[in-house]
């Protein structure tokens, strides 16, 4: 909960927020906001402010798919009378806004940047994207942003931060991109009363206090790396069934597979999400698989996020504590509890109890 970093703070009523959203849409910006459909709360392009559901709580998927799509065509090919013709996919140059994501999700995009910013497709979309986050007003049992350096009002990766206050919002820009988004409205919006931002932050502080999971210090990375051969990994990950929900709901998992789809007549080269939990992920052409059993794959996910990545990227974990993987896992794998157990030597269940 750092001090505000840029620009004046405004106080917005609910209607004002809605008309802001409508104004952004009128400017032909693509706005992706949480919507409820088929019982799923997901980020989707909205056509009117009314469609957006800005109630507290996270979306089923992280916003990463708007920068790193589930599947994207890198190029298509066609055999024209024996001459191969390659075509670039159509570029989407519309500015886009991720509206109403959680601070942890915004931080997740910053983690993704370290891996994917070197990719021109990702980089272009990132450039076109502005992130409007909403400070959390409640925490779920699986939330642990505070354990990995985040906060319910975290500013990392956030261009504009909204915080709920009484029957409305306080809003402030945290980056030049955010400032550009707010600047045209400054004339019509009232400045917030003195202390309004602090009041909103206090609320976020209370949310942070309600997160019972203990901190996972960055200093653990080196020791965690040493646990590679620890037999307890087999015990911990025994129940893992090897789906990829954890990786696909994760705001920071960045692995992909590239495959050519089509025939010798035409087709395309596609980049598609992939996951270290799959057997095929490490299967060699020779038939050998260095991660031949599920616990080894499960261990990879934990160690990559909390040991290998932090050791290579200045200490920060490749995890923002959104808790989606814990919530969606069919067998209740708990990445936070796994790290705690490995470091403390306590059984996982007990480790969880100790955390509250």
């Amino acid at each position: 909960m750092s001090t505000p970093s840029a620009g004046p703070i405004h106080r917005l009523g609910r209607d004002q927020l809605a008309s802001w959203l409508d104004a952004l849409l009128a400017e032909r910006k693509q706005v992706f906001a949480p919507v409820l459909r088929r019982g799923l709360r997901v980020l989707r392009a909205v056509g009117r402010a009314q469609e957006a559901d800005l109630a507290p709580g996270r979306t089923r998927w992280s916003p990463k798919e708007f920068l790193f799509p589930r599947t994207e065509t890198l190029f298509s090919y066609e055999n024209r009378d024996g001459v191969p013709v390659l075509t670039d996919p159509p570029a989407d140059e519309a500015p886009r806004i991720l509206f109403g994501v959680q601070p942890c999700d915004a931080a997740g995009l910053v983690r993704l940047d370290t891996i994917l910013l070197q990719d021109p497709f990702y980089a272009r979309r990132r450039e076109l994207t502005t992130v409007v986050a909403i400070a959390c007003s409640e925490a779920a049992p699986e939330c642990f942003c505070t354990a990995v350096g985040g906060s319910p009002a975290g500013e990392e990766g956030v261009d504009v931060l909204l915080a709920p206050l009484e029957a409305g919002w306080v809003v402030r820009a945290l980056s030049p991109k955010g400032e550009a988004l707010l600047a045209p409205r400054r004339g019509e919006w009232e400045p917030a009363a003195a202390g309004a931002w602090e009041t909103a932050l206090e609320q976020a502080g209370r949310v942070a206090g309600s997160i019972g999971r203990r901190e996972l210090p960055t200093a653990w990375a080196a020791k965690l790396e040493q646990s590679f051969d620890d037999p307890r990994w087999d015990e911990l990950a025994r129940r893992c069934v090897g789906c990829s929900i954890c990786a696909y709901v994760c705001p920071s998992c960045s692995c992909f597979d590239v495959a050519d789809e089509g025939s010798d007549a035409c087709g395309s080269r596609c980049r598609t999400w992939d996951s270290c939990s799959f057997r095929l992920f490490t299967q060699h052409g020779s038939g050998h698989n260095p991660r031949s059993a599920q616990p080894a794959r499960s261990r990879q996910r934990v160690l990559h996020k909390f040991a290998f990545y932090p050791l290579q990227h200045g200490g920060q974990a490749m995890c923002v504590g959104c808790g989606r993987c814990i919530r969606s896992c069919p067998v209740g794998m708990d990445i936070h509890a796994e790290v705690v157990e490995m470091m403390s030597g306590r059984p996982e269940k007990e480790a969880r109890d100790v955390q509250g």
Binding site: V241, G242, A259, E261, V331
Partner: protein
């Protein structure tokens, strides 16, 4: 992601539009019949592309799927008349598979005018010409297939929900069951009868239970049984997830059916597994009884080595007497509702569901029947299922998953519970199970010795859908 390889002409406005039809025909009868039509100068529409296979028994329903995926507007599958098969029984097996696959396509809302089956012998050139004419007419009426892998318009379907809420079972009874389970598990471990007890223990989310692998008698105190013990632990009995060594596994009625099917399919080493049947009060999803539990009485499966109920532990499979009230299966009401819709609306409904699939394969991972060491989705030469997470790839995956479970799915609905995209896989599985019940009187998970319905046949199997 791929462009249609058989480039379908999709412009309806163009007067020149003619349907593209893939005709998958057996070498010995129908191909020869088509040949006969040619040598006798029978005219028929030039709308079919022949794919010759040795026998209709060689026709993997994936061929039909692939044809549509690559741009066909219709598919005709044709082989020898029953009794005429060059390989004696290939077409009998094929007939059962076609029945299952056709019912799947119907339920998913593919226009029935697009898929046709026939028996045409080598001498029936006239019939070949007639069938191709009829099929061409039907597919022409249906028009170009433009919505494979996508919904043409919003489905706007609301499925009926069961009206009367069910009362939650008494906590005291569940606690008693938990106590008896712990005692039994501890004694099995103490006496060295098993190395591992597979049960349920509280998970990280309040109220959740997760699979537990208990190896020490003192750890059995972590076992719990309540109304949220969803995980079908039979998933750990076969294939790559199989727990090695002697294992005792706690099973509800649905899980016991899964174990029974595994045994029927030769996947279960019976002497290595002790099945502990738990008298089940029904499982709750949020605040409602799980759909599958409405019509289930919760009694333990016949295969069980122990029966655990609130009154204690008994050896063998014993009726617990605590029969749960049963009523109509809400899934059946929802299926009936979907079937009352026009195919196009049903297609849109399922395509909207499949559009949200992220191909995490959790449905496969938790399924006790999905025990293959290498799944068809992992086959890349040829690539049967596009890896792309989009309408085309997702439709292929969901179709194939469902088809591979036909006659095997026991309705534990775990795939539907774990699906992060809320896809109603339970309805698809159930619809196929009902089809096989009605057609072949086969009830998956009831007979450890019965042959799976698609691995057997009767010469007089119904074939009303084959011309």
């Amino acid at each position: 992601m791929t462009e249609p390889t058989l480039q379908a002409v999709t412009d309806t406005a163009a007067p020149a539009w003619k349907p593209q039809i893939a005709a998958i025909v057996c070498n010995w009868c129908t191909y020869a019949g088509a040949d006969m039509a040619g040598t006798t100068r029978r005219e028929y529409p030039a709308s079919v592309r022949l794919l010759r296979v040795p026998c209709s028994g060689r026709v993997n329903p994936l061929f039909i799927l692939k044809s549509f995926e690559q741009g066909a507007d219709g598919v005709l599958v044709s082989g020898c008349h029953p009794g005429d098969c060059h390989y004696v029984q290939g077409n009998y097996f094929a007939r059962r598979r076609f029945a299952a696959f056709r019912s799947l396509l119907n339920f998913l809302g593919l226009d029935p005018r697009r898929v046709h089956f026939s028996w045409i012998s080598a001498s029936e050139g006239i019939k070949w010409a007639r069938v191709v004419g009829d099929v061409t007419r039907a597919v022409t009426e249906a028009g170009p297939l433009t919505d494979w892998g996508r919904a043409a318009s919003p489905a706007q379907v609301t499925l009926p929900e069961p009206s009367a809420p069910r009362p939650q079972p008494a906590t005291a009874e569940l606690e008693a069951v938990t106590g008896h389970l712990r005692e039994l598990a501890a004694s099995l471990l103490r006496e060295g009868k098993v190395a591992v007890v597979l049960g349920w223990t509280p998970g990280p989310i309040p109220g959740q239970t997760i699979p537990a692998f208990i190896q020490r008698p003192e750890d059995t105190a972590t076992l719990v049984f309540g109304t949220h013990n969803h995980a079908d632990l039979a998933a750990y009995l076969a294939g790559p997830r199989r727990v090695q060594g002697k294992v005792a596994v706690l099973v509800k009625a649905c899980d016991a059916r899964a174990a029974t099917t595994l045994l029927a399919e030769g996947q279960l080493v019976r002497e290595d597994v002790i099945l502990v049947g738990v008298s089940c009060p029904g499982m709750w999803r949020d605040d409602r009884l799980a759909y599958r539990c409405h019509s289930c009485d919760g009694e333990v499966g016949a295969l069980c080595d122990f029966t655990v109920s609130a009154t204690g532990v008994q050896p063998g499979a014993v009726p617990t007497g605590a029969k749960r009230a049963t009523g109509p299966d809400p899934r059946d009401l929802q299926i009936a509702h979907l079937e009352s819709l026009l195919p196009a609306q049903r297609w849109a409904f399922w395509q909207e569901q499949f559009a949200d699939c992220v191909r995490c394969y959790a449905c496969r991972a938790v399924c006790p029947m999905c025990y293959c060491g290498s799944c068809i989705s992992e086959q890349h030469r040829p690539q049967w299922i596009p890896t792309s997470i989009d309408g085309r790839g997702n439709t292929a995956w969901n179709l194939v998953r469902a088809y591979h479970l036909s006659g095997r799915c026991v309705g534990c609905d775990e795939c539907e519970r774990v699906c992060p995209a809320n896809i109603r896989l339970d309805l698809i599985n159930r619809r196929l199970a009902l089809e096989l019940e009605q057609r072949f009187d086969y009830h998956a998970g009831t007979d450890p010795e019965g042959a799976p319905p698609l691995a057997t046949f009767r010469p007089d199997d119904p074939q009303e859908f084959i011309v």
